[in-house]
């Protein structure tokens, strides 16, 4: 077979015109029951498969959406993809997924490739600040719908948002630690200079300290790329200070798992010697020893909502959903033993 089967082939076989084939396949009620059947039979016999792209191009509206994630090896974003896919598949849409690896250049290239595919919408998980003006313009021009997930874009009327209040959640976690008597609290946080989600978590941490009258100590805050090893090394560094923290808030579970190992390797018992908390509630963290205190985020639901918004017609108003997140207290945080 050199040329791919098309409607004309089916039409010939069923002795009708292509227009009728199109109708029979898309809206069978617009065609006599008899011909509909004949056409469907012909299509099946030939093994004809409908060409979705050809349809897209003609109708001008695309049935593909793009999903950008920082990395595909974080199970969390996998859950979001599942939510997105479950919604889009029912509507006959496909999802192009790409990982940016937190690199602005890659991000720009990938966004461009999505535009070249004329995606109906893009769902962005953590676009860098650098990219926001460009993205906002695309949404404003009505070229594509844009939904940010996990983080709230700073005041972009044309962009939708589905996520949690990162600042509030980080504040709650920090308050939990303060409530346990900790006053020297370390923070391992993502690239807050470029990613607003990380910045919000840092702010929430500071909010809680301030409210409790604890001075901010920049020495206790480490900005890292979310990665197990980076979490490990950051913890080592924090615990090697003259006055090590009595609690560490790892503002991503990936950091926390790395940090837990570092603490143990240095001979610290968690939570007796040092409390440790994460963020996201990846399913693995409940399986750590001790299981980690963290913030639960419903990643799947974020994906579903984002997809619903994404599928709305271009030009529809933007929507914002701020979901609840829960503080999940497990065994890794406990009362402060040392004097702060």
């Amino acid at each position: 077979m050199d040329r791919t089967l098309n409607m004309r082939d089916v039409a010939r076989r069923a002795n009708v015109s292509v227009a009728t084939v199109s109708r029979a396949l898309r809206c069978p009620e617009k065609v006599s029951a008899d011909t509909a059947q004949r056409i469907q039979a012909a299509a099946a016999e030939l093994g004809y498969v409908y060409n979705a792209s050809a349809s897209d191009i003609l109708t001008g509206r695309s049935t593909v959406i793009g999903l950008l994630v920082p990395t595909a090896s974080n199970a969390l974003f996998g859950e979001t993809l599942h939510g997105v896919q479950d919604v889009t598949a029912d509507a006959g849409y496909s999802v192009i997924q790409c990982a940016t690896h937190y690199e602005a250049a890659k991000e720009a290239t990938l966004i461009d490739s999505l535009l070249q595919r004329r995606v109906h919408a893009m769902i962005l998980t953590g676009a860098t600040d650098q990219q926001m003006p460009h993205v906002e313009k695309l949404a404003g021009d009505g070229r594509t719908r844009v939904v940010m997930v996990w983080e709230k874009p700073a005041d972009c009327p044309s962009i939708s948002y589905v996520g949690i209040d990162n600042r509030q959640a980080a504040r709650r976690m920090t308050e939990h630690l303060i409530g346990l008597g900790h006053r020297r609290i370390g923070l391992i946080v993502g690239p807050y200079t470029r990613i607003s989600r990380a910045r919000s978590r840092l702010e929430g941490y500071r909010d809680a300290l301030e409210a409790a009258g604890i001075g901010f100590d920049g020495e206790l805050v480490l900005e890292r790329r979310p990665d197990l090893l980076e979490g490990y090394e950051a913890m080592e560094r924090l615990m090697s200070r003259d006055q090590p923290p009595t609690a560490v808030f790892a503002a991503s579970d990936v950091f926390a798992i790395g940090a837990l190992k570092a603490a143990k390797a240095m001979g610290y018992s968690v939570p007796r010697d040092v409390s440790l908390a994460g963020f996201d509630d990846m399913d693995m963290v409940a399986y750590q020893d001790p299981p980690l205190t963290t913030i639960r985020v419903d990643a799947y639901r974020i994906g579903k909502l984002a997809a619903q918004i994404a599928l709305e017609p271009i030009g529809s108003p933007s929507r914002n959903y701020c979901l609840d997140s829960d503080l999940i207290v497990r065994g890794s945080t406990g009362p402060c033993a040392r004097r702060g």
Copy 2:
């Protein structure tokens, strides 16, 4: 903006024909430097974005490939996606990713949707046996290229394969445990009745037992859906037997992490009371306590190779790569203390 910008708009603006615009954008060397510049300027001013789908449809060759995974929340498949993406992005291809959740019906629907997009190739991670005849036919017809990853399809000349020898690797791990003096060895394995990769691992386990003259005990083998909780419960069940195993081979790291927690919860120390081994070497397993003995598979490299094969023109011969996998001995396996 109601209608999306096209080449005609650019042509008008630059006072040339659409053909010239096409050339200037795709192969600027076929056009005078002067006009090329003028056209590029016009495109930039208008904010014109090339329409990749329109091009695909006309040339007949698509620049999209499909990637099917059982689940997107396993970090392993994320690594494979990265490998695939790094190769395809350079070639200007996009990747449509879908998760089957190990359900044959979903799988069939998703494969169909990929065909409707006329993907150049599909990379399958664990198609169920049920789907294989269909997929093989697609590959044979030259509709699309098909690359299986992680598992070797049973004798399908038209399908390519990139993976490891699952049977051999499972045998090696089992031999490792036997070498430590274990004779009652439990196995927690994926759905081997439907997934050949799981089947191969079961076979490797049996090979090793047989070679060592150890009788096969069906009571020690549990088939489960890869999932932390299932691993946990399977381990509980194994260790509740009258004669519990002295070692357990969890033929997926996800099982192993679940099983580790179960063992600890039941008061067993690993590896003193029971040895535990995984499979895949997800990055998390080195961070467990104790770190898990496992089989290392280079998931990223699998993705890269698969993508290279996928990108070859339709009709190119199929290729098979069987990569090495390594036995990584960490702290979770040790000598057998009890009498077998």
